[in-house]
Subunit: 349 residues, 3 copies
């Protein structure tokens, strides 16, 4: 499949062709990064730090932004946002899968389940009682859907995903393989060293336009629901404990966890390998850098960083530079002692 | 389904009805937290910090404890432990699933496997050679049981759980979706940069009354077994390496890991996002706060906290307050230098 | 099954029988660690710290190395590497499974897929379009192989492993249960708080002789492939983001993650519970101790340790000892202030 620069320019609002008079003659059949592009590729150039790679790149045409415009001397398309433009080009080459209503082999669907129109159901899929799958969804091989699960239209459910039961999900939901929804929340009461389980009977509620990665776990609530708001995007191996409320448009990167009953405000951005403790409130619009532990609830949104430090980003930057002084800290104390001794100050250690 | 306060009081030993003369007329059909309760709900009130929510709550009746008794002016049931009482009420509304001996579709059971009486087996379940499932168990959809796996009576095995083989599990075992048992331990020997695998041939042994969350991994041992004691409860995404011995009644919260050959004593409590290094011994009754890294074996049980700190909880509390001094540490050193200069002390840096 | 010392000695090059004249009469039927061995066991003794266990051990014979030779007064086999020798003995008692070309029940294989000779395919396995499985492989129960997946010869694919599609894997690949390959990379562009997905269309490429644990996630690339080199060994719950390039013979222990676009050089050794940030370059032959966060790219290979510290191993050792001084840090500052006051130095805080 070949596309040309004219076609792409027509597709992207407010784009501008530069360094060529014949965009319809600039054809390409692949999308590659600068260093991997060949003379049949379109590539992207959006930061001056890639100036050398751009110079050496063999691509026939580039998606560029204002930041690098002054450096560009090859046929290119100036666009408002390179990533968005790239997405549109990729969608032409690799159109997202659409459901066609096909059925795999070895399927077990409860009589009380409802499958709406034009849903693809893969091999080895089960759907439990009173569950419903919205139209135009793709349910991949090995997905297990328990009882009382409602999945909105246009879902893409990755292979071997498990829905234990009592789950409500909005439209345009995506999840990748081996994720688990609706396992019991982790709640035991200990009497004389024996741990007694407290039943977990509330739901998992997920909004519209949510995407979740592979090998994630989202637990059902105790007596209140676990909630994930519209527009949230989670990476792989994200753990969400019971009763957690996550607002709208929250990003959580890989291997981060949110412990039970914590509330995450709208538009928070949580990096990878973070641990958000239980029963906290993270204010809307907070940023939690990768590798951060939150042990207390901040009063105001800010940028937080550091596993055990409880600092904001500027504080952390300064403190971390000084961590090297800890290496010789015992010597510093000796120096203070010597001063005190010479001055006749009583050692107050 | 409706229940009344009299029924609940009769169910819970040492409970006391307060603020009503007609408990049989106080009926409810749902269990909700204070802020979500309506006039047909029972709710719970067990800490003074929820005083405002209690005042505003619309519940018709409350489970309360001694701590809040002086604040309670509405019909309530005073109980020895609110969580235990709540569990009993929830069990009435949502009785735990019981097996009835049903069989799903598309099942593959080895001829040498033994399934005891009254076991439910879901769709897409396989059971390998010489494996055995105890009576009254529920094996959910997609569970894969390899060879030589023994699961005790009254188990509930969540969807898509994998048992690789050579595993012995006691009675009353619960596990949620996509967990994996019996993968090979991680042991390689490196000669001239090539890593040679050392065979892992020992078992996974799990005691009675154990509950494990979703997406967990428990590896088989090398030449000695990996052991999890009676009464242990693990949250989601817990990793247990080969040869690990975990004592009785140990709690491990989400995303924590125990590396190979480590020994965890009875009744230890390990929070979420902890990393317990390999070949350690954690004394019985130790508490490891969430987000803690254990790099060395403590001699005595204590409360440990901090990823890189190696401190007990009281030490950590004091050190963490002082972490802010690191921000201006370079200035402190300048001050010492100036003192030394004025005093004519030789700089010993 | 019984083996004798003579048979083992013949099997292991450069081994030497000691403390017995009749090795063919020293028979054993099990391989146990020192404390668990009985009079029919072979055991291993390779470090002086196990001297007491060796003395008390009931094993009939031991695999030993030069380090402990002076302590050994029982029938033993002196070998160049105890672990390698142990592996050879274990392989005799527990020969690795070999494929015999068997087929399970309920299998769905696309007409365009190719299964080479002598491949075992378990129950509930699906293989998508244009996918290929190399000869002598074992595909366990519940494995889901999407479209355009190529798995080289002699693979062992653990139960319920998911391959989403567009994946190329070399020969001798091993993976354990519930791992996921080829989920979309985590890439969104945010415009006015809404996160727009950028299509992820590149492959996952895995070399020869790679072993991966259970519950791992390896994402497909955006427009460049995610690559794992020959000879890599990963433990459980390892997360590999999109576009990551991992060199040859890299070890990654449990629950560690490598974020998007990072490059890991050949022969790196990464411990458990590590977080390697995105867009970094880790030089070949680096060692990252367990529980380490890498936020920046080091210029030279070294041993790195500490979550937030950015220190090498010797620096960390010294700094960590001094962390205790943070506990009384506020008092140290008071002492400096008092000195300054007595000397009439202006407080510069």
């Amino acid at each position: 499949m070949k596309l040309n620069l004219k076609q792409i320019a027509d597709l992207i609002p407010n784009s501008k062709i530069i360094n060529t008079e014949t965009p319809e003659k600039i054809e390409f059949d692949s999308v590659k990064k600068l260093s991997e592009a060949n003379e049949n590729s379109i590539s992207i150039f959006n930061t001056k730090s890639n100036q050398k790679e751009f110079k050496d790149s063999k691509a026939i045409v580039y998606l560029i932004n204002e930041d690098v415009l002054s450096l560009v001397n090859k046929p290119s398309l100036l666009v408002p946002n390179v990533d968005i433009a790239l997405g549109k080009v990729l969608d032409l080459f690799f159109p997202p899968k659409k459901s066609i209503g096909k059925r795999g082999e070895f399927i077990s669907i409860s009589k009380t389940a409802e499958i709406e129109d034009n849903v693809d159901i893969g091999n080895f899929v089960s759907v439990g009682e009173n569950s419903k799958i919205g139209k135009n969804s793709i349910i991949e091989d090995g997905v297990k859907i328990g009882d009382n699960v409602r999945i909105g239209e246009n879902a893409r459910i990755g292979m071997n995903t498990v829905f234990h039961g009592d789950i409500i999900i909005g439209k345009n939901f995506t999840v990748f393989g081996n994720s688990t929804f609706g396992g019991d929340g982790f709640k035991f009461v200990t009497l004389e060293k024996i741990h007694y389980k407290i039943p977990q009977i509330a739901k998992v509620i997920i909004g519209d336009n949510v995407e979740i990665g592979s090998n994630c776990s989202v637990d059902r609530g105790g007596i209140e629901d676990t909630v994930i708001g519209d527009g949230c995007k989670f990476d792989n191996m994200v753990h969400v404990g019971h009763n957690v409320k996550i607002g709208k448009n929250v990003i959580i990167a890989g291997q981060s966890g949110v412990a039970g009953s914590t509330i995450i405000g709208d538009n928070c951005l949580i990096g990878g390998a973070c641990a958000i403790s239980d029963h906290l409130v993270l204010p809307a619009n907070s940023i939690v850098a990768g590798g951060t532990g939150m042990r207390t609830s901040p009063k105001e949104p800010n940028v937080f960083i550091g596993w055990d430090w409880g600092l904001t980003y500027p504080e952390f930057q300064k403190a971390r530079v000084n961590i090297k002084h800890l290496i010789g800290f015992n010597k510093i104390i000796s120096r203070i002692k010597e001063i005190e001794k010479k001055m006749g100050i009583e050692n107050k250690e």
